[in-house]
Every structure is written in structure tokens, then in C-alpha cells.
């Protein structure tokens, strides 16, 4: 019966969303962080009146503008793709998910786009203070838009504040504040936003390092490094703290994803954290190609239990516990969840028939079964193939560990740079300046890895436990999606090449002597 699913349609629809989201995420974190770095620099300019700071601010605004444009270009697609490629999803949770998108437009996008015009065109048209306020509003507007879209994303990972209505066959919002302030929303926003600030600081230091190595724009580069390193150290510490909090939220609400982070197949108390690990290329479980075991690993004893539950004696469930169940720790098996999910789905169908027949007793009965089993509604779609409930462990494991390792490394790097600045040795430290340049691609790898961890780790769910990708996808011809995937790939890659060429050229030109954008 599973042949009835067009898995290629699901895979291509997912691929298209991943492609467009990942392209979008190349440009967004830099603008999120650079907005604040520019605003700090302009504040120093307004307070000191030193034109050198204006020159520094304007150069980084140029870099901001180039990124912002392509961020906008790649962003519009995502909003509409929820409808074009995930139409069932749009109805099933549109009552909750649509609101943050609309609020994002009304409260954040207009703020950003209105004051960006003042920021770029207003140097000689508005007062210094109005201009400075505009720059800060652009920075806040960008972060505010990130807030709303991340609230929406967090809700998909931890659906709260809603109730399923069988009359309309959808989830309906019951508490806006639960949606806005859920632990997942708080952790997702704070971690994503601080990591974006970190990335921007790395880019500013990297570009400035290049100038120092070439002995160009020395004053500009040193001042940029000071601002970026202070900003970067603070935000990297914040990134690590929020990352730690995020991991705990995931452990409590998405145990399968958490198990995939660590490649943990068999749950245990005093679970060790895999610091470094290499996975086998052949499946550990012949029935599931997503599960692969380690050929080599270095572990930190007890640390995973502590990280997840702040208790070294806590039990961390493994993939096998989640699939086969574990009575001791009261974990239901996948088979049980699937059965209950199917009960919920069938009860919804019964409810509809009873309503048509105007049989109130049967409606009440169906509704009760639905309510009792709704928390597993999405599992009902896996009656034929439970193995799909497991995400790709290697991809999740590697992306999680790359992100964590690089995050730690960046914090150390900022501290080292600040130390060198303090000792007045930054211009002579060729080694660390070279590392500064090497860090640029690493920052993007870390940033993308974060999203791969979050999104691949939660597969197969679009809405955790309630709606899998197979029940969310639009009913399109696979070839149509392949065609648009290729078109997006070609167009976005072309635009990326243009963006990079323009960026490199502007960096080569460097900050202008006076005025000029």
C-alpha cells in the first residue's frame, strides 16, 4: 500500500524548500549581525564626530546592502512556498502559523524597509540623530522579523497553544502567548539570533584581517576588529548558553531528534556525550538505512545525561527505546503510537460521517476517541513503514557536532583577538589574521549546520507528532516541482555568483576616502 505514496514528490518538495531556505540563510545572518555592528559604529561616529567612523560605518553598510538585496530576493519564496508546496500544512495549521507571518510583515518588514531607505539615502537629507535612529531601527527591524519567523518555526517543532477542531479539520489557536513564549520559541530565537551576530562578527574580522595582511586601510581595519571582536565575544558566549538551553528543550520535547544528535541507539542513564565520532557507512540496522553505528568515537562520560536533564543519573532514551518502547521509563513504542494515531484519524472520518447523519451520540463518541489519541495523530500515516520515523542519524550527528565544535572555536578566537588587540599586536599577528580569513567559510558552515541539525533532525515531521511531510505536501506533478527546483537552483546560484563578485570587488576597493556608498 505504501506504493500509493509518491515519495519522489515529497523528496523533491523537501529538496526545494531546503534549497531555497539554505540559500536564504546564506545572506540573512550577516545582515542580522551587521545591522547592529553598523549601528554601534555609527553611534561612535555621532558621539565622537570623528569622520573616520562615518567612513567605517558606510563601508559596512555597502556590504550590508549587497547582502540585504539578495536576502530579500530569496526570502519572498519561502513565505509563499508554504502554500505552493505544502498546501495541506497551510490549512491544517494555518490558523496558528499564518499569524506570525502576518505580524512579521506588519511589525518588522515595514520598519526595516522604510528606515533602510533613510539609512542609505538620508545622509544629507535628515539630521545625524534621525539617521542614527534609522540605522538602529533597521537593525531592530531585521531581528524582529527573525523573531516572528522563528516563533513560527519553533511552533512546528513544539506545537502548543492550540486545539484540534474536527468541524474544520484543523488546529486552532487558543493561546497566542503560549505560541510566542514557548520554551522552543525562546530557545530558537535567542540561539539563532545570537549565532547570526556571531557570524557577522567573524565576517567583519575576516575582511579586516585581509586588509591588515595587505597593509591597507590599517586604521579602518583595526577599529572594525575591535568593535567586531567585542561584539563577537559577547554574542558567542550567549550563543553557547542558548545552545545549551536549546539542547535541553529538544531533549525534553523531541527525544528522537536528540537521540539522532548523538547517534544514541540504546538509551541509558549516565549517558556519555560523543565528543568526536566517525560513523560506519553501512546500516547498523538492516531494516533502516538511516541508522548507522560508530566505527570510532571519543566520549565524555555522563555528560549527555547532564546536558539533557542537568542530572548525570537521568535516562536519555535512544532510538531503539523510542521505536520499540521502554516500559521501565514509560516510553510507548512506535507501533503503539501508530495504532493510536490511526485511531485518531479514523475517529475524524467517523466524526464527519456522524455529522452528516446528524447522529450526536456518534459524533461525541468519535470526538472522544479523537481527543484521547490526537497527540499521536501524525503517527497514523506510518502504518506501513514505521522505519520512516527515524531521521538520518549521520546527517544530524555530523551537522550537530560541526556546529557545536565551531561555536566553541569562535568563542576562543574572539578572546584571542581581543587579547592581541589589548597587547597592540594584532597587526603583526600574521597567523591569527590568516585564521581570521579562514574563519569566514567556517562561520557559514556552522550556521548552515545549525539549520540542518534542526530541520533534518526533526524528520519526518512538519508538525512534531501531528503532521508528517507526506500528509502536508501539495498534490502536484513531481516533474513540476523538479522543474521549479532546477529553476531556483540556476537563478539563485547565478545571483550568488553575482553577489560574491560584487562583494569581493567592494572589499578590494575598500572604504572610500570621503562620503560615497
Amino acid at each position: 500500500m505504501t506504493e500509493a505514496f509518491d515519495y519522489s514528490l515529497i523528496d523533491w518538495s523537501r529538496a526545494q524548500f531546503a534549497l531555497t531556505a539554505m540559500y536564504h540563510w546564506i545572506f540573512v545572518p550577516l545582515t542580522l549581525g551587521l545591522g547592529f555592528i553598523m549601528a554601534i559604529m555609527e553611534t561612535i561616529y555621532v558621539r565622537t564626530g570623528n569622520p573616520e567612523w562615518k567612513r567605517i560605518t558606510k563601508f559596512w553598510m555597502t556590504i550590508f546592502g549587497i547582502n540585504f538585496a539578495i536576502g530579500v530576493a530569496t526570502g519572498i519564496i519561502l513565505e509563499f512556498e508554504f502554500g505552493t508546496n505544502w498546501s495541506n500544512y497551510s490549512w491544517f495549521v494555518g490558523d496558528i502559523f499564518g499569524a506570525p507571518l502576518a505580524i512579521e510583515g506588519i511589525m518588522a518588514f515595514f520598519l526595516e524597509s522604510t528606515f533602510i531607505a533613510v539609512m542609505f539615502f538620508g545622509w544629507n537629507k535628515v539630521s545625524k540623530k534621525f539617521h542614527l535612529v534609522s540605522t538602529w531601527l533597521v537593525a531592530f527591524g531585521a531581528s524582529l522579523s527573525a523573531l516572528w519567523i522563528l516563533v513560527a518555526n519553533a511552533w512546528m517543532q513544539l506545537p502548543v497553544g492550540m486545539k484540534f477542531n474536527p468541524e474544520t479539520a484543523r488546529n486552532e489557536m487558543h493561546n497566542f502567548w503560549d505560541v510566542l513564549l514557548s520554551p522552543m520559541a525562546v530557545s530558537k530565537f535567542t540561539h539563532t539570533i545570537s549565532s547570526s551576530y556571531l557570524l557577522a562578527a567573524i565576517i567583519v574580522i575576516g575582511i579586516s584581517s585581509w586588509y591588515l595582511l595587505r597593509k591597507r586601510h590599517i586604521v579602518f581595519a583595526k577599529r572594525s576588529i575591535v568593535v567586531a571582536a567585542v561584539f563577537g565575544l559577547i554574542t558567542s558566549i550567549f550563543t553557547i548558553l542558548t545552545g545549551d538551553y536549546s539542547a535541553r528543550v529538544v531533549a525534553q520535547n523531541q527525544p528522537m531528534k536528540f537521540a539522532a544528535f548523538e547517534g544514541l541507539y540504546v538509551g541509558q542513564t549516565r549517558a556519555p556525550l560523543v565528543a568526536i565520532g566517525v560513523m560506519s557507512t553501512s546500516p547498523e540496522d538492516p531494516d533502516n538505512e538511516n541508522i548507522k553505528d560508530f566505527v570510532f568515537k571519543i566520549e565524555i562520560p555522563n555528560f549527555l545525561s547532564y546536558m539533557a536533564f542537568q542530572d548525570i543519573n537521568a535516562f536519555v532514551p535512544g532510538i531503539r527505546d523510542l521505536m520499540e518502547g521502554n516500559e521501565k521509563y514509560n516510553i510507548p513504542s512506535a507501533a503503539e503510537k501508530i495504532a493510536r494515531g490511526k485511531l485518531a484519524i479514523d475517529a475524524l472520518a467517523e466524526f464527519k460521517l456522524a455529522k452528516e447523519a446528524q447522529d450526536q451520540a456518534k459524533m461525541d463518541e468519535a470526538r472522544q476517541i479523537l481527543d484521547e489519541n490526537f497527540q499521536y495523530f501524525g503517527y497514523g500515516y506510518f502504518v506501513d513503514d514505521p522505519s520512516r520515523l527515524v531521521p538520518s542519524v549521520p546527517i544530524t550527528f555530523y551537522s550537530f557536532h560541526i556546529m557545536v565544535a565551531l561555536g566553541m572555536w569562535f568563542m576562543m578566537f574572539f578572546a584571542i583577538v581581543l587579547l592581541l588587540v589589548y597587547k597592540g599586536k594584532i597587526s603583526q599577528s600574521k597567523f591569527w589574521l590568516t585564521i581570521g580569513i579562514v574563519n569566514i567559510p567556517l562561520a557559514y558552515i556552522a550556521s548552515q549546520s545549525g539549520w540542518i541539525t534542526a530541520e533534518m533532525g526533526r524528520q519526518p515531521w512538519v508538525i512534531q507528532d501531528l503532521m508528517p511531510t507526506m500528509a502536508a505536501v501539495s498534490r502536484l506533478d513531481t516533474n513540476a516541482v523538479i522543474t521549479t527546483f532546477i529553476l531556483f537552483g540556476v537563478v539563485f546560484t547565478t545571483l550568488l555568483i553575482a553577489e560574491l563578485k560584487i562583494m569581493f570587488k567592494q572589499i578590494k576597493i575598500g572604504p572610500k576616502q570621503e562620503g560615497g556608498h
Binding site: 530579500v72 498546501s87 497551510s90 494555518g94 502576518a102 505580524i103 535628515v126 479539520a169 497514523g380 537563478v491
Partner: protein, 385 residues
């Protein structure tokens, strides 16, 4: 405050907000219209740069309004989002691609090492102006002429084929451009955008040659606009419409439905007539009195006219997205909206809109306080596209 409102009141309120956003979007598409006139109004590189720079100061406003319109539609009428976007795939994708290529073109056009060359970015701007306006107009035409979809929310319970909405033609929306009435609306929007583009450019650019050419171009665009617009309006007022029985929810065809809507909602009729008069006054005051402030009449008229047209598409017991496949599957503001709670929460958010409009006004005035001139293009201290 909003909590006490009936669900239907909130649904009407949100249809009004959506209509207002759509009408502001059509007005702001003067940017798109202007982009299709770059070569007709500007014969030298400097003239073209003047036009692009004055349009470039507003493109993000149009873009943001489009994105907000999409988000607000999703939040208030998610079943439309689900049905139309997921079904009329090719039309929406074409619109999106047209806007993707716009977003980078202003910023990248004159930057050194821009990979594709200045001309390519100008072609992108032209394509955005051409396709963006015509396709959005054509898509809105389906609000009055219907589309080939079916909806059954209970498909969700079929675990092997759970899509709740299906498109019933293999063309996924492309068939809309084969309907002459949809295309007439699309072309009306296109020529109206050009008319507004001309009015905005003469308002914000100080260059005699451009002003002279603008007058000639106004004739070339105002006449076809009026032809297509009058054709569409007359057709609309005489055609059968998709009515809803408010008691049963049954959809049925009603003769002169849209004419009835105007007559039964006299305020909307007045808004419509005022809007059409505003656009006509804007065009004629520029053509005959050489007014350079005609954009304000043309713009306000556009907002009122489009606003009232969309109101008659959804209010007064009308199905705003009719299904040609099965009349009873048509979308109405009652059967496609968000819940009472969400509409209430969103209604509070809508109270921010006047604040947004106020700061947009302040920023607009501060940047457009004097028309752009050739000397501005050499101003090294400003951002030049």
C-alpha cells in the same frame, strides 16, 4: 474589544483589511509600471539612471506590501492560501520569479563586477514590471471568473492520498491566462501601473526631457488602460456572479451579482466612483494642466477603485474564489477564514497599521522632499543605484 465581535464581523473586517492591502499594493506598483518605461522615458544613460534611482527609493515598499499581503491572507483566510497557491502553482511561481529578479536589480545594476552586466539587470526590472503586474491582475481576475479546483478537508483521513485541495486541470493555473476577462484585468493593472509610474516619475524627477516624453507616454498608456478597464468593469457588472446563501452556505449563480453588490453597498459604490474619478482626474490634470502632483489623485483613486472592486468580490454574501469544478467547493469569507481567536488576535495587530503608515509618511517626506536631479547622481555621499 474585538473579542466581542461576531465571527462574521471579524471575517468581514479581515476581508476589508486584505482588500485595503491589495489596493495599496496596486498603487505602489507604480514602481513596476515605471520599470517598464525606463527606455521609453530615458534616452541617455543619465536619464535612465535618474528614473531608476527615483523608483529605487520605493521598490522595497512595494515588495514589503506584497509580502505583508501574502502573510495577512495566510493568517486570515488560510484555505485560500492552501487552495490557490498549492493549485495554481505555475501562475504563483511565475509571479514569485518576477519579484526575485527585481529584488537584486537595483542594488547590483551599477556595482562593479556585477557578473551579468547593467543591461541584464535593466531587463530584469522590465520583466518584473511586465509579468508582475499582468500576472497579479490575471490571478485576481479569477476572484470573479473562478478557477478549477476542488476542496475536501476530510481527505486528511485518507492516509494514502490526503491532499485536501486538488487542481482539476493539468495546467495548474496557466489556464487563467486563456480567459480573456482575466487577461483584461491583468492588462488593466499593467497599463494602470505604467500610468502611475509616469505620474510618480514626473513628481519626483527634475529633468525636462523626461517630462516631455512622459506626456506622450501618458497618452499611449492611459488610452489602453481605459479600454481594458472599461471592458472589464462593464463585463463584470453585467455578468452572473457567485452568490452565497447565508443561511445554508449554498453557492448559486446570481444575475448581475456584482452590480447588485455595488447597489446594495452604496458606500462601496461611492468609493468606486470616487476612485475612478480620482484616476481620471489624475491623468487629465497631468495631460491638460501639466500638474506634477497628479500622482496623489491617481494614487488615491487607484486605492479606492481597487479597494471597492475587491470588496464586491468577497462581501455581501459573495464567493470570492469560485470553483468552476464544483460550485459548492467555492471559497467564501465564511468557509475559508481563520478561527475567531486568531482573527481577534490579528485584529489587535492591525491596530499597528496607522503607526506603520505614519512612519512611512515621515520617511517618504524626508527622502522625497525635493525631486531628484542630475547633480544628485554625482553626490558621492548618497546611495546611488
Amino acid at each position: 474589544m474585538f473579542e466581542t465581535f461576531e465571527l462574521y464581523t471579524l471575517q468581514q473586517y479581515w476581508w476589508i483589511i486584505i482588500s485595503l492591502l491589495a489596493s495599496l499594493l496596486v498603487f505602489l506598483m507604480f514602481v513596476q509600471g515605471g520599470q517598464t518605461l525606463i527606455y521609453q522615458l530615458g534616452k541617455t544613460e543619465t536619464e535612465r539612471s535618474l528614473i531608476i534611482n527615483t523608483l529605487g527609493r520605493k521598490w522595497e515598499l512595494t515588495f514589503t506590501t506584497l509580502v505583508t499581503f501574502g502573510g495577512a491572507f495566510f493568517a486570515s483566510f488560510p484555505l485560500f492560501y492552501s487552495t490557490s497557491f498549492g493549485g495554481a502553482y505555475w501562475v504563483w511561481m511565475a509571479i514569485l520569479f518576477a519579484f526575485v529578479i527585481q529584488a537584486i536589480s537595483y542594488e547590483y545594476r551599477t556595482k562593479p563586477a556585477n557578473f551579468l552586466g547593467r543591461k541584464t539587470y535593466e531587463v530584469f526590472l522590465f520583466l518584473n514590471g511586465l509579468l508582475g503586474t499582468i500576472l497579479i491582475g490575471t490571478a485576481v481576475g479569477t476572484f470573479f471568473n473562478g478557477a478549477n479546483f476542488s476542496v475536501d478537508k476530510m481527505n486528511l483521513t485518507n492516509i494514502y492520498d490526503s491532499a485536501i485541495s486538488r487542481w482539476e486541470t493539468p495546467f495548474h493555473g496557466l489556464e487563467a491566462v486563456l480567459n480573456i476577462h482575466n487577461v483584461a484585468l491583468g492588462l488593466s493593472v499593467f497599463f494602470l501601473a505604467r500610468v502611475l509610474g509616469i505620474l510618480y516619475i514626473v513628481n519626483s524627477v527634475n529633468e525636462e526631457n523626461i517630462l516631455v516624453r512622459a506626456r506622450r507616454q501618458m497618452w499611449n498608456n492611459a488610452v489602453p488602460f481605459l479600454v481594458f478597464f472599461l471592458y472589464f468593469v462593464i463585463y463584470l457588472l453585467l455578468k452572473q456572479g457567485f452568490a452565497v446563501n447565508p443561511e445554508t452556505g449554498e453557492i448559486f449563480m446570481e444575475k448581475y451579482k456584482y452590480l447588485h453588490n455595488l447597489l446594495q453597498m452604496p458606500v462601496v459604490l461611492i468609493l468606486f466612483l470616487a476612485g475612478v474619478a480620482g484616476v481620471l482626474y489624475g491623468i487629465s490634470s497631468f495631460l491638460f494642466c501639466r500638474s506634477r502632483k497628479a500622482i496623489w489623485f491617481g494614487g488615491a483613486g487607484t486605492v479606492l477603485a481597487v479597494f471597492s472592486l475587491l470588496l464586491i468580490a468577497g462581501l455581501n454574501n459573495t464567493a470570492y474564489y469560485p470553483s468552476l469544478h464544483n460550485l459548492q467547493h467555492s471559497l467564501t469569507i465564511r468557509n475559508s477564514s481563520s478561527s475567531h481567536y486568531t482573527l481577534t488576535a490579528m485584529s489587535y495587530v492591525s491596530l499597528f497599521v496607522p503607526v506603520v503608515i505614519a512612519y512611512i509618511y515621515v520617511a517618504w517626506k524626508s527622502i522625497n522632499n525635493k525631486p531628484i536631479e542630475k547633480s544628485d547622481l554625482d553626490d558621492d555621499s548618497s546611495h546611488i543605484y
